[in-house]
């Protein structure tokens, strides 16, 4: 941590700050010039935020130079984390893993129809929302436990792993029972009570990036989960909020590279929520593979026009299968194993 003092800071103000830092067992090293008074703080500063030091009169600016996440950082663990499943699927290795299915679980029949397409495509993971957090209390909120059961049943029928979103910590036992990968939605990324609960889970966590979250904040949420003991985390970029309105959100494709540089965790992309337009999904998926993502989570629907949510961003089976063909070709070129 680097602290810049105000020109007019008094000796007394310096002393107060020094006392505080020493009480935290931090070492102080001076880097001042004639014009600017600066010192570097050496030691473990994780128990406070840089902002907290602005409470000291005389302090002008505080800058953190080490990353605030530890267990999630590449400097803590050099090798990539690989999440392995019983059926041979690996996220974070040389595989390019496809998760696909409808936005919402609507009925057993619907899930079976779509699961058939998913299986046919060569993918191994089925997605589908059972609990749907919607901005309007009047919109469809999901089939809930019934949805989880359908998802599990159809997943087993087609030998597919299943992934779905958890809305709150108290439902964790239910998710542990029915689900293979537990998804955290963008709006819950900083629901820290949920992160703490997931830290105790034995299931891999798919952690979506918050709508306006920085990569540092996103990794800090992963850190919460890892600090609880669960180190199986899949980061998922799903578009961030920007001023652009033609697309629902803006896919931050370089987030894949940022996560790979800063962390050892795998990272996948959700092009459906990022664009909000099915016409863009194939091209964005190809770009995701090209940039080095470990996989995709994509919405597929047999009848998007009557989907109970998010039909706009769902691919019809034919378009989905066309996209998968393209992805397989590109995987081969890039030395990736499409799964």
């Amino acid at each position: 941590m680097i602290i810049k003092m105000k020109k007019e800071a008094t000796k007394k103000q310096y002393k107060k700050l020094e006392e505080f830092l020493e009480s935290k067992n931090l070492e102080i090293r001076d880097v001042s010039s004639k014009l600017i008074h600066i010192f570097g703080i050496i030691g473990d500063t994780s128990s406070f935020e840089p902002e907290d030091l602005y409470a000291f009169e005389g302090v002008d600016e505080v800058t953190r130079v080490s990353t605030p996440f530890k267990k999630a950082s590449r400097s803590f663990k050099k090798e990539n984390t690989v999440i392995k499943f019983k059926n041979g699927i690996e996220i974070g290795s040389h595989q390019f893993v496809m998760m696909s299915g409808p936005c919402s679980v609507e009925s057993e029949e619907q899930m079976r129809t779509i699961a058939k397409t998913v299986k046919e495509s060569g993918a191994h993971i089925l997605r589908g929302g059972a609990y749907k957090p919607r901005t309007s209390p009047y919109a469809f909120q999901g089939l809930k436990e019934e949805g989880l059961k359908i998802l599990r049943k159809v997943g087993d029928e087609f030998d597919l792993l299943v992934v779905t979103e958890i809305p709150s910590a108290d439902l964790l036992p239910l998710f542990e029972k029915y689900v293979d990968i537990i998804q955290v939605g963008a709006r819950n990324m900083q629901n820290f009570e949920l992160m703490k609960a997931l830290g105790k889970s034995t299931k891999p966590i798919l952690l979506k990036r918050g709508l306006s979250a920085t990569i540092e904040e996103w990794l800090m949420s992963a850190e919460y989960i890892m600090n609880g003991g669960n180190e199986q985390i899949i980061m998922c970029e799903r578009g961030i909020r920007t001023f652009e309105k033609y697309t629902r959100n803006t896919l931050d494709i370089s987030a894949v590279l940022s996560i790979k540089e800063l962390s050892h965790l795998p990272v996948i992309i959700d092009p459906s929520h990022a664009a909000g337009r099915w016409s863009m999904i194939e091209k964005l998926s190809l770009a995701s593979l090209a940039v080095g993502a470990d996989g995709l989570i994509v919405e597929v629907h047999n009848n998007p026009e009557h989907a109970l949510s998010d039909g706009a961003q769902s691919l019809k089976p034919k378009k989905y299968l066309h996209m998968v063909d393209k992805l397989k070709e590109l995987s081969t070129l890039l030395g990736k194993d499409f799964r």
Copy 2:
């Protein structure tokens, strides 16, 4: 809702859309010109999102023209909602209500010292965090239930109402027991499971705006609570995320006016979290009063340099009392009753 069709939309595509809209009991009215094909949809569209219609091929653009919130809207209820407390405090009336206290409850002694200042200032509501959602799992997370007890005890001693933040729905019974106003933090604004739970509470809810939330989204979260049956909601603007880094967040002062135009709910300002710099709090508080806010929630600390969180934005008692004097003068000029 207004739907613009693509030029190349086919008859079949029109028909599919019409069937869907009719199945929802919506009336369709044509407003097309020679160049553009547009129709207006009349009826209750709350069961789907405008985006959902993009799933229909042929649809080019969908625009909502009615607000998605109902119970929270000014057109639903003309008169201002006033939240009344037993001690005569009213939020949303001619009173300008001050809530003040430390960021975190740290000890009974600390709370007593600060409560004395709060009381002396003429304020009637004591704030203090018992559960602290922090971005780092390694930072101080609050005294939890112990903090709630201290807050209640000291509040009663000084005859002050108390307000504090709830981190998750399962703690609601505890908050019902100890607290007068239940605060929802910015990061939980779209934790819809929490909103649903608060809809069942008998306590007024202080609903902070999310870091990047639009006013519509913020009012939709209020709608969730109101839909559950609890109509006592105080909106709280606390700064939004922008590109500016000199202040921690950017106070959106016109949000007060937007809420007053769109809704009947009272709205207060938190200048401490907005600015993140104590040097700005007095001036921002005066501006908040001038713009028409119903009150303030401000951080005061007897010893901000050793506060366990957010010391940077806390006022010392002397500066706080100076600010209150200025606010009282301005209240008088503006015909408001400082409480």
Copy 3:
């Protein structure tokens, strides 16, 4: 400047960086701990950007600790800059200065009608656009030189100073001839060729903040002008782009406080462009005065419904005069002299 090196940085990489820094006559001071390698750079770093150092392999992160602006900074000049006009108006002193008039100069008659209201209100500066930069090439682009002449003529008739926007450097001679204060529009804030030209002007410059500009970038544009020799700059906050759509832009009211802390330059507020809604202007103007702005620039129109641009945000004379009454009362309370 603080440089953090990568863990794996080689001796050769360190050496290359050191040679570069020494070639710039910068002193290097080590602040490394066992875990992190950091050094501070002391000296004049204005000839390069922190980003430039990322070109050196081994560099992990570079942080500027001194502000990049010099002449515009409060540490360069302690006392407030006051812009003085022949008629006694002072911007940056104890005066609260009102600039008002229509968005566009439309005709001599229109300007005369409005100037009468402006004069009657007790204001001394008339605004009005002669050159209108519009996002659409098909929208009204202003009366141009004819507009400047009308503005000057009507200003002289009513003994009002005049302020208007310059669209490009080649028109500077014309503006020098007709105008008292030269305004730079938000979209031109980083038109550095224009900034350089204005550095040679003898007229005060009203520098609007760019739509997404940080305060540092805004002050850097002031620095360009000051570096050219013109130190008479009035900063003007006019709302920034955020995700909120109910208001056209979001008034960053704390920008007034940021500028006052970082710089000695005066700062005013344009509530009309910030809100884009006339219903909000009175309240935002009162808040601007309360927060400590040195003045306002406000749109007034005798017939906003037929204004050729920006009618939505213009006040009618009656509402404008009502607002001025309120501002005068508040000025008196705050010890400011309304002009």
Copy 4:
């Protein structure tokens, strides 16, 4: 255009609005329900902004349903615009066109060294800044005319087309003389006087997207140029400003798809400015090709550590040639012709 009226709007207010619309030869069509009063406006609304209608009392909300750009729109011209050069290079066709070179022209020798690499890679367009708009007046501002001459000379030597940025309209004759493609920098995207001047140019224009510009605003700037008579425009996405700080800007890769849907103009990507980190350029370039961009503009430098600007984002020749190999492979797979 769709206009929603306030519930309380009076007959007089309706009448005033109708009169205005009729004076603009617009047809009014009612789509009101019992609850909401709405009408659609049919005809040419390009002479005013939707916001202007808020000046009419009684108006609640105005929504544009047609795009404000005409000549730039896909509905105006169905086929892709292809920019053709004498040497067979085509932008907007089946070719994938590479523009590469240093950020700044520093010397003839430097340009010759880099041009050799560019030529060797199989690219046909050389980039290099002669006029450098920098945020600091103290930073290197480019070799100016001398830089243009060097660029031309070296371009001719190696039979490469040259592209460079124009800072202001008065330099257009010089650019016409020396340059093959004239670049508009992000900060000048809404310098409308410059757009008007470029409308008269005979050279293709490379129009960079503004830092916070929406795609609609970006296309409106293209519209300005096209309205002046120059229809040879290459759109260039170069990253937008977001809250993320690890990358300099955030590459909006879906902008390629948005432009292709909304317009007939070609669009390329500048990964160097988007990321600001050379480590990300190869991967982002591959993703750009995969998503369907018509080309790239990339920074290459023989000695980025001593570059006078933007060294951080420049590739060394070896890395650049490695990237080009990968791009060629991928071009082949995708049926594109790498140039």
